[in-house]
């Protein structure tokens, strides 16, 4: 298994005049509504523990007010926590002084924002160069790097345009190019695609997945959209009222939701498009190979369900990449999963 890149431990954030004393109240069991009503403090995050794996996409999902945007801002310390720690590559972000924090932000992380946050007085190229200018990278090298990423996100020919003249989708491509040009190992995406039309959003998701296939960054992706979370997340954390309800791989969250909140959330999801064969297979124990059907472990159910219906196999044998048989799946189990 890959290494932990970002470790968030016992993170608390309380907004208000005297967060430290409010923290004691929270530890004594005062809940969010009570805290607001009686003490006039807002509980942003409560006891968040999350290990984010290197080179994976960690989605943090929740509705507005759940604290997800607050959480992502703790990773590059745009927000100071009330208590807890954030460790990146073994170094505590919260213990850095101003200079090393700036250095950390310049070289390790890059961020993409919900409303793009581009500089309106700079062109697409100048916006993309922003991070490198901040680091005083040599002009010629910076230019080459920026142009490469502008090209990579499909904005060639728009270098000299100003952001106002681009559509939302194109502006966010600039935001993405700006973040990628910075070349940090960690990409923080705060509802990066939420402001876009559904079709363009799908485009951007595909671009992100395609890029991730070759770049292998550690991506923290915030969203309120479950379909988006299931599509791009290697792992998903679900936040509600500043508390983490559940964390795990998409299939686990769908198949065994821990709380009613998560259950309500995942109820209407089309499972066939999210669950892969390997998620629901059982151990092989002498299944009959006659009339069996073979499926790849990474196939989604909707890839083979039509064939199951037409061929009526006795069972499904799951194979891995090197063609070993690693498990089986009965048609009865399959129909249970789909009926839920």
């Amino acid at each position: 298994m890959s290494e932990t890149k970002i470790q968030i431990k016992k993170l608390y954030k309380i907004f208000g005049k005297n967060p430290k004393s409010a923290l004691e109240q929270v530890n004594d069991g005062v809940n969010k509504d009570e805290l607001l009503e009686k003490h006039n403090h807002v509980l942003g995050l409560k006891d968040i523990n999350l290990d984010i794996k290197e080179k994976s996409i960690q989605v943090v999902m929740g509705l507005s007010g759940s604290g997800k945007s607050t959480l992502i801002r703790h990773i590059n310390r745009l927000i100071e926590p009330t208590d807890g720690s954030v460790v990146v590559d073994g170094e505590d972000v919260l213990k850095m002084n101003d200079e090393s924090l700036r250095n950390f932000r310049r070289t390790k992380t890059a961020m993409v924002f919900q409303r793009f946050a581009l500089l309106p007085h700079k062109t697409v190229l100048e916006n993309t160069l922003f991070g490198l200018h901040i680091q005083n990278v040599d002009e010629k090298e910076a230019n080459t790097r920026a142009r490469r990423w502008i090209d990579r996100v499909g904005l060639s020919g728009y270098e000299e345009k100003y952001p106002q003249h681009l559509s939302g989708g194109m502006q966010q491509r600039v935001g993405l190019a700006r973040a990628l040009t910075n070349d940090g190992e960690i990409l923080l995406m705060d509802e990066a695609f939420s402001a876009l039309d559904p079709l363009i959003r799908k485009d951007m998701q595909d671009i992100l997945l395609e890029l991730q296939d070759e770049l292998h960054k550690t991506v923290v992706f915030i969203t309120h959209d479950l379909d988006e979370a299931l599509k791009i997340g290697d792992r998903i954390a679900i936040l509600k009222d500043g508390i983490m309800d559940q964390e795990g791989i998409p299939a686990d969250i769908l198949l065994s939701p821990k709380t009613q909140y998560v259950k309500d959330f995942v109820e209407d999801v089309n499972r066939a498009r999210v669950i892969k064969a390997k998620h629901i297979m059982s151990k092989l124990n002498g299944q009959d190979r006659d009339n069996a059907m073979f499926v790849d472990q990474d196939d989604f159910i909707d890839r083979f369900i039509d064939k199951v219906i037409s061929d009526k196999p006795s069972c499904l044998i799951v194979k891995n990449k090197s063609n070993d048989e690693i498990g089986y799946l009965s048609t009865k189990r399959l129909s249970e999963i789909l009926k839920r």
Binding site: A117, L119, H121, F130, I134, E160, Q164
Partner: protein, 296 residues
Amino acid sequence: MEDFLSEFPELSRETLRFIKKGFDASYRAFSREYGDAIEAVFDPVLYFLVWFEKLLQNSPWPIVLICFLAVIYFGSRKVSVTIGSLFAFLLIGIFGMWEDTMSTVSIIGVCTMLSIGIGIPVGVLMAKSERAQRICTPILDVMQTMPSFVYLIPVVMLLGIGKIPGLLAVVIYAIPPIIRLTNLGIREVDKEVLEAADAFGANPRQKLFQVQLPLALPTIFAGINQTIMMALAMVVIASMIGVKGLGQPVLKAITNQYFAMGLFNGLAIVALAIIFDRVSQSFGHRIQQHRSGSRE
């Protein structure tokens, strides 16, 4: 009891006189002690002002006119404004007000430069620090509302009659808009854009020069425009303490009831105001080209 209600209980006449006398005496002592030193501080400004005025007045008028028109054209990039200015300057010259106009242009120019040079840094400071804002706001209120004659008295007591006191009076009156609008412009910069600058590791200086000031520029320019207009409005009052220019004939016209003389010089001030306004406004619009189209 009846006395108490009908008459406001006030200090006795002797006490009041004592307070006023004491105040005046101590200020007079202060000005006698430090007047020269303070005057020396302003010497460089005075030299520059005199040099600039002499330059405008002693150079051949066609050259000055051509320089003005060039600045106007490159500032506004508008032929109509340039031609209008040409006619205005020709009329001013024909009606015998060229020399006074040059004096006024020089003092307005220097006042505007001083106001920008002091005003923008103060505005930045106000935007960065809540405490600076709390301290500066009431001072700016006083500067804008206190009748200018009142602060002319101590300035004249300290520095005498002349260009520098006039310059100070104009700057005190004209500087608040640029300070206020610089502060406002920087405070209005989109929070998410600032957050982006932070997230990419910009230090405070980079944030100021690459994000905050450029984004605040349109608002700052509105402030510069206001400052120029207010400086022009002070020309007549400044002439009361010995500043040469279009204000002095107006003052003479008031005291002697010369209507035509007042009107001519007044119209010359109006013409200058319109030229300054059009040029600075179109320049302000032009630096915001990103709002209208891509770079040519």
